[in-house]
Amino acid sequence: MSRLRLVALRLAQAVPILLGIVVLNFLLLHLAPGDAVDVLAGEAGGAPAEYLALLRERFGLDQPLFLQLFYYIKSVAFLDFGYSFRQGAPVLQLILDRLGPTLLLMTTALFLSAGGGVLLGVVAAMRARRWADSVISVLAVISYATPLFWIGLMLILVFSIKLDWLPTTGMEDVTAFYEGWDRVLDIARHLVLPARTLSLFYLATYTRLMRAAMLDQAGMDYVTTARAKGLTERRVTLRHILPNAFLPVLTIIGVQIGSLLGGSVVVESVFAWPGLGLLAYQSLFARDLNLLLGIFFFCACLVVLVNLAIDIAYGLLDPRTQRS
């Protein structure tokens, strides 16, 4: 029961943030040149005049600002983000169509970076101040300083152009008409480079964090107790220290999920990966601000959702946090 209440409480806390994001979106809409309807209909025309008039009426542009805000919140609550005339489809449908590839890319990158970060962090901590630790630390510092889009291009140069091991762009070879496992394999081959690129920075972050947390935990009393019980060093590290050292990593995953989404915009536009990021990039070029704002809103909601999930996972992993 208490777990359900925790979920309900977190959901209730997310509501004001979501409302804040809607208000912010509304303000951005007004900040753009032209009136909100020009923006809604895709800047620089494209929409028929009747539709514009209809929109002006529906959003009450002749009415006070707070009423306009009310209409805007109402339409967002009904998941109505308008129509993109540049793409010829409702914004919501465009976003939902592109959600799958982005989630695939992000979860793969997340598992690569969290898994790899935990592994490298543990190795670095166990070999603290020896050469493996130093090599890992130097690589982490370099990864921090590398622009995502550049490392993506360099990986394409080496692995696709020079070595010809992996495809350069896209999510699958559409001309091959693969089916079943062949298609899965084809998508996986296309996924290697973008996921590797996107995960690099986070791999470095989690490695350093995991290393520091492992060294922190190693000095705790419970570790001494575990050793006193006569447990092997391997068991002490893997079963006792590691789960506790993972908690700060989990926290940072939640904090960084928004920046991971931002990174996917860059990575998707480098690799022409057909997700939300590429859609954002295309909407920039088409000056389709409403579509861009729709994506922006959707991504912010996604961050709220993921943090909700992480809060709940945290409660499951660390029973102490449930009581408070």
Binding site: P16, I17, G20, I21, L24, L28, L31, A32, P33, A128, V141, I142, Y144, A145, T146, P147, L148, F149, W150, L153, M154, I156, L157, I161, R211, A212, L215, V255, G258, S259, L261, G262, G263, V265, V266, S269, V270, A280, Y281, L284, F285, L289, L292, L293, I295, F296, C299, A300, V303, V304, N307
Partner: protein, 277 residues
């Protein structure tokens, strides 16, 4: 602490000194760009696609622009945007954090809710939206970076203010009848400068990375040469003339790396007790 001992402690970290050396070189390149490359970096000087280390140090790009000139002028852009955006970020973050931490209660609550909202929003996508709406220019880039990066600074400053607020020297100021503003800016703020300086130095690096990514996506100022823009322009020719992308990327990598190393060196020098493992 006097300056000499601070410098000695900074010099104790070899990586910090290495970072400083690279950073000084980048700074010199940026300062001397108008002397060595007086021509507009957008000017067409020769045939396109001349390879590096020939007639021109780094060759020419797809339009026949001098790549070395672009790198030198790009250094100016990167450092300038990095510094301006960081200054703006520090101003917004420090004011918010200081007011929240000093006054506490309802003001703190409201300001922190606001900060939380901004921390939830995916920063880079927010920056893209802001630049797209304000239309691309140096000013928009600086504003966008500042708007998305102030929350961590606000939290940091708030935390420092919360602990310093009840110290004896502040209580003494209250007894002396000192005004709130004077207490905040003249008494408390100088005491939490070192974490602000360290975080600020790392912010410069992040700002440069963000600026380059924006310029790469075509959201940079079209009248100003930038490393991100050069990579974006060169990506079409990756197959045949890969150095058009590689060279500006190495420039970004080195600059950001140098700033991070200096930041870490500063951290070790200013907070010797917090030295990482």
């Amino acid at each position: 602490m006097n300056e000499r001992s601070l410098w000695r402690r900074f010099a104790a970290s070899r990586s910090g000194v290495l970072g400083l050396v690279i950073l000084v070189i980048v700074g010199l390149v940026a300062l001397t760009a108008p002397i060595f490359f007086p021509e507009n970096p957008f000017a067409i000087v020769d045939k396109p696609f001349l390879p590096p280390f020939g007639k021109y140090l780094l060759g020419t790009n797809s339009l026949g622009r001098d790549l070395a000139s672009g790198i030198a002028h790009g250094a100016r852009t990167s450092l300038m945007i990095g510094l301006l955006a960081t200054a703006a970020t520090l101003i917004v973050g420090t004011i918010t954090g200081a007011l929240a931490g000093f006054y506490g209660g309802r003001i703190d609550n409201a300001l922190m809710r606001f900060t939380e909202l901004f921390q939830t929003i995916p920063p880079f996508i927010f920056a893209i939206v802001l630049v797209a709406i304000l239309s691309p220019s140096l000013r928009s880039t600086v504003i966008a970076i500042a708007v998305v990066s102030w929350p961590p600074i606000a939290r940091l400053v708030r935390g420092e203010f919360l602990t310093l607020r009840n110290r004896e020297f502040v209580q003494a100021c209250v007894v002396l009848g000192m005004g709130d503003m004077q207490m905040i800016w003249r008494q408390i703020l100088p005491n939490c400068l070192s974490p602000i300086i360290v975080t600020g130095s790392l912010l410069v690096a992040t700002a440069i990375l963000t600026e380059s990514a924006l310029a790469f996506l075509g959201l940079g100022d079209t009248n100003v040469m930038s490393w991100g823009f050069m990579i974006g322009a060169g990506r079409t020719y990756l197959r045949s003339d890969w150095w058009l992308c590689a060279i500006p990327g190495i420039a970004i990598l080195l600059t950001v790396l140098a700033i991070n190393l200096v930041g870490e060196g500063l951290n070790d020098a200013l907070n010797p007790r917090l030295r990482s493992h």
